[in-house]
């Protein structure tokens, strides 16, 4: 029972992997790049941003960056909690 379940799941996952590999674009030939062209065209006109990467990170997807900063804050909080036992100052 266990073995047949394992074989069935292996066949299903293998089929999924095979399908994904056959459906990918050929290397060096991506599909439509509508999103890229939109940002490259509009970043300077809308937001007067010269650096498109920074305008994406801090403007179009600023909520993402807020989460990133929050992750850093949480990491520092957890490090402070972990190493508190060795601290000499109160």
């Amino acid at each position: 029972m266990k073995k047949s379940l394992f074989v069935a799941s292996a066949v299903i996952i293998g089929g999924l992997f095979y399908g994904v590999f056959t459906m990918t674009h050929p290397f060096g030939n991506p599909g439509k790049a509508v999103m890229d062209d939109h940002f490259i065209d509009r970043a300077l006109k809308d937001r007067s941003a010269q650096n498109i990467v920074t305008s994406l990170v801090f403007d179009y997807r600023g909520f993402d960056t807020l989460g990133e900063a929050a992750v850093l804050f949480t990491a520092v909080c957890s490090i402070g909690a972990l190493f508190r036992a060795g601290r000499k100052r109160s």
Binding site: L44, K45, D46, R47, S48, A49, Q50, N51, V53, T54, S55, V57, F58, D59, G62, F63, T65, L66, E68, A69, A70, L72, F73, A75, V76, I79, G80, L82, F83, A85, G86, R87, K88
Partner: protein
């Protein structure tokens, strides 16, 4: 941690200030050159590692106070959130200072990026505080070793 040799201390004296200036440049120019708050903050935070490794813990804590970095981190995150909230009539993190420029880039015209540069500086302060505080806290955690396991053994000399 004992201080390292005279060679390392001299190199720290010469180079660490250049690292701070370079990190500040990466943060300040983040809106029109590669880099930004995260990268520049990481560059500035290596200064703390240099100081701690070269001069040792006793002299290090006469210069460096951990609450300053804690405050830098908190203020950076709060300023970022405040700037993001200021664009709220349109959307969160809306660039409300930027002036829309319809034409193409002319010679000598430098576009102001609005809130992007301000957010870069805020995130830079946050990353400086966070990474420096990580190093300081982990160094202070080594006292745990002294009190529980009998002390540090092994440095370069």
């Amino acid at each position: 941690m004992k201080p390292m040799s005279l060679i390392v201390i001299t190199l720290t004296r010469v180079f660490s200030w250049f690292m701070i200036v370079f990190g500040a440049m990466v943060i300040m120019n983040g809106h029109h050159t590669p880099g930004g708050g995260f990268q520049g903050g990481a560059v500035v935070a290596t200064f703390i590692c240099f100081l701690l490794a070269a001069y040792g813990g006793k002299k290090f804590f006469t210069w460096v106070k951990a609450p300053i970095y804690s405050g830098l981190e908190t203020i950076g995150l709060l300023v970022f959130f405040f700037l993001a909230c200021l664009g709220l009539p349109n959307s969160f993190t809306y660039n409300f200072i930027a002036v829309a420029h319809p034409g193409e880039v002319l010679g000598g015209w430098l576009p102001s990026c609005g809130t992007i540069s301000l957010m870069n500086i805020a995130v830079g302060f946050e990353v400086i505080g966070a990474l420096s505080l990580t190093v300081i806290e982990m160094y202070e955690g080594t006292h745990m070793n002294e009190s529980y396991f009998g002390g540090e053994c092994g440095h370069d000399r």
